[in-house]
């Protein structure tokens, strides 16, 4: 028994030799992206490929992407708590960490996109005046609420695991864990359990709200073809859930391999997640088809222009690659796997999930750029510059870096799993 707890706490107590070069590479990419952002600060947004017609590009695509990823964590762990789905408990905290890291990245993506980041504080100072009007302010409200709630939700049940870690460590680690455990009281676990249950109840609607308000940022602009859509909320939520669960599968597979948790994170669990992802991907494909049909059949000029850009125009290669390689093939793989009894290939499932996640990033790019390439009597031609690509790479390196470092501070596995087993 104690042996198992030690194994679960191993990432906190030991750092393997591969950890340092991995962190160094991620850090290097991040430093390059900081340099690129410094260029953007010094010379202005002109260093990006954006122009007065295509006003948003990869940063906003990134923003929607990270908001989407952030859904998975709490979805998994709230489901564990509310539906008593105990078999998903081993990945609950892995998923919650992913939520918090990607929410931070979503907020950063918005700030990176601002022309005057030095005035970002005005978003808070003017909040009381603007929150009845601007969908962007609604979204900031929702994301901030979600970040606070999910951080609390991560931290409260973690206290008992920190307690165990503290008891089992010495030296600077013990002191660190002591700082992470302020105001600890004997027997607080029962209170925390009740709190966490109600937090989970609160978080689920907030989670729906977050992605709906993200959709509203775009779908309430009546002049933008394919954005202006009453059902943008559900459309975005399905994408968020599919991409989020897929990224949880990727990370869970990697963590399982690295820490040799094969017997704790069971294949059965991947099977359940992959079935669910296949289902949501199918719903998403269906929604995409419905959207394109409405645009092409009814045929308002703006919708037809954007839809033809997607299907046959300058974005066609990207669109078809994304749809077939990134959505249809992973969906088919997961579907076939679902029909085979008691079989799951974790490596392949993780690879397919990764493809799904990448495809959903490009889908977000496709949402933003083609719609914004049409203006009154003007066409905007946009392609990302090296600055944008460097910042983009940095925005993928930073969450990985944060995640990797957090695994050394935060118990990655709820120790209760051990009692359940």
């Amino acid at each position: 028994m104690t042996d198992n707890v030690d194994r679960m706490l191993r990432p906190l107590m030991h750092t393997s030799r591969e950890f340092y070069p991995f962190v160094a590479i991620l850090g290097l990419v991040f430093v390059v992206s900081v340099y690129a952002y410094q260029q953007q600060l010094v010379y202005g947004m002109g260093v990006t490929g954006l122009n007065d017609v295509t006003i948003w590009g990869v940063y906003i695509a990134n923003f929607i992407f990270f908001i989407g990823i952030s859904h998975a964590g709490i979805a998994v762990s709230a489901a564990v708590r509310l539906l008593n789905a105990h078999r998903y408990k081993p990945i609950a905290r892995i998923a919650e960490l992913l939520t918090i890291v990607s929410l931070i990245m979503a907020g950063m993506s918005i700030v990176i996109d601002l022309g005057r980041p030095d005035r970002a504080m005005l978003l808070i100072l003017e909040y009381a005046n603007r929150f009845m009007y601007s969908p962007l302010v609604w979204d900031i409200t929702a994301v901030a609420t979600y970040l606070v709630l999910s951080t609390t939700y991560l931290y409260l049940p973690m206290r008992r695991d920190i307690k165990v870690a503290m008891e089992r460590s010495t030296g600077w680690r013990a002191r660190l864990f002591k700082y992470m455990l302020p105001l600890y009281e004997e027997g607080e676990e029962a209170t925390i359990d009740r709190l966490s249950f109600w937090l989970a109840v609160t978080i689920l609607p907030v989670m729906v709200m977050v992605h709906t308000t993200v959709a509203w940022i775009f779908s309430l602009l009546s002049s933008r073809p394919l954005w202006f859509n009453a059902f943008a909320g559900p459309y975005y939520i399905v994408a968020a859930v599919a991409s989020g669960i897929a990224s949880v599968m990727v990370i869970a597979a990697v963590v399982r391999k690295i820490y040799h948790w094969e017997d704790i994170i069971k294949p059965d669990l991947f099977r359940g997640l992959s079935n669910f992802t296949a289902m949501t991907t199918l719903v998403y494909l269906y929604m995409m088809m419905a959207e394109q049909l409405a645009a092409l059949f009814a045929g308002p000029s703006g919708e037809v222009f954007v839809s033809e850009e997607w299907l046959f125009g300058s974005f066609a290669a990207l669109f078809w690659l994304m749809t077939t390689l990134g959505l249809v093939i992973p969906f088919l793989y997961m579907l076939v796997q679902a029909f085979r009894k008691d079989y799951v290939n974790i490596e392949w499932t993780a690879a397919m999930s990764l493809m799904l996640v990448i495809a959903f990033w490009f889908k977000r790019y496709m949402i933003i750029v083609p719609t914004l390439s049409i203006g009154v009597q003007q066409v905007g031609i946009y392609s990302p510059t090296w600055t944008e690509i460097a910042i983009l790479l940095g925005s993928f390196a930073l969450p990985l870096l944060l995640y990797t470092v957090l695994t050394k501070v935060v118990p990655l596995m709820e120790l209760e799993v051990e009692h359940d087993a």
């Binding site: 007065d52 022309g115 005005l122 602009l221």
Partner: protein
């Protein structure tokens, strides 16, 4: 934490919550169109004429596509040439029978089009600037209230609290807004390429900085200081542009609105723009000569 100190904590937290709620109510009770910050910092425009509703009417039949309005506007409003060649007025050469929403064969942003040989036979000229909508989509979405509709119907931008999120540009159905992608470069005086006149920077117009949004203001510094018309209306050689107060029944635009057959573009979006188009027939011959 002991029980009593926990109760104490909740008391304090509750008091803080009530304080925040009250301050929200207090700010809401002020006029919502005047955000708090604008009283502290902010671009200062002359005081609005109460009860007015300024608008413009463009005679597309008269317009010869000379671009005098475009260049005069740039000099009047300190709109930078470099980098990016920003202009607040757009002017497109349209073939006959091409609808306004035509999206094929149209030049990309920044393409140089030669208008020196205009007017061309079988063409017409489609020109617009900010439409100063009565129900502007851009002001609704602004997260800081930097862009707002003033009491005389002008849609203006407070350059000092614009955070450059470009949400207003996404919301604008007319592509009337411009973003300062780079540091705007403005020499002390500039030459108008149309007539060769040299004009210094206009001190009445505030300079913009990198990373903020700007657009046509209907020359707010002129029309609120007694000058009846914006610069583009003043320089138009064929009187294609007309400007005035729609709420004043004796103004030129009110009379035109009564007598002419007018059209507003993309009116179905419910923006009710204050820029009308009309025509009294083509004012130049088929060979491009003025009649």
């Amino acid at each position: 934490m002991s029980n009593s100190s926990r109760r104490d904590f909740f008391k304090k937290a509750g008091a803080a919550g009530i304080f925040i709620a009250l301050s929200n109510v207090a700010t809401k009770m002020r006029n919502v169109s005047t955000p708090i910050i604008r009283n502290i910092v902010g671009t200062v425009y002359p005081k609005a004429v109460k009860g007015a509703s300024f608008g413009m009417m463009i005679d597309v039949g008269a317009c010869i596509g000379c671009r005098r309005c475009l260049h005069a506007c740039k000099l009047e409003n300190n709109v930078p040439d470099a980098p990016g060649n920003m202009h607040w007025i757009d002017l497109f050469e349209m073939e006959n029978r091409s609808p306004v929403t035509e999206v094929e064969n149209i030049p990309p942003v920044g393409a140089v089009i030669d208008y020196t040989d205009s007017p061309k036979p079988d063409h017409w000229y489609f020109t617009f600037n900010c439409f100063h909508c009565d129900n502007p989509p851009c002001t609704k979405v602004c997260p800081t209230g930097a862009t707002y509709k003033d009491e005389d119907g002008l849609v203006l931008i407070n350059y000092d609290i614009c955070i450059g999120c470009r949400y207003c540009m996404a919301a604008c159905p007319y592509n009337a807004r411009r973003f300062n992608w780079w540091n705007p470069e403005l020499p002390p005086s500039r030459v108008n390429p149309i007539d060769g006149s040299v004009e210094p920077l206009n001190e009445a117009v505030p300079l913009r900085v990198r990373g903020v949004n700007e657009k046509c203001t209907f020359c707010v510094h002129r029309i609120r200081n007694g000058n009846p018309v914006p610069r583009c209306v003043e320089v138009c050689p064929v009187r294609a542009r007309h400007f005035g107060d729609f709420n004043d029944p004796n103004s030129e635009v009110s009379r035109l609105l009564k007598t002419e057959r007018t059209l507003r573009i993309r009116e179905n979006l419910g923006t009710s723009p204050k820029l009308y188009y009309f025509t009294r027939g083509v004012k130049w011959s088929k060979d491009g000569e003025k009649l």
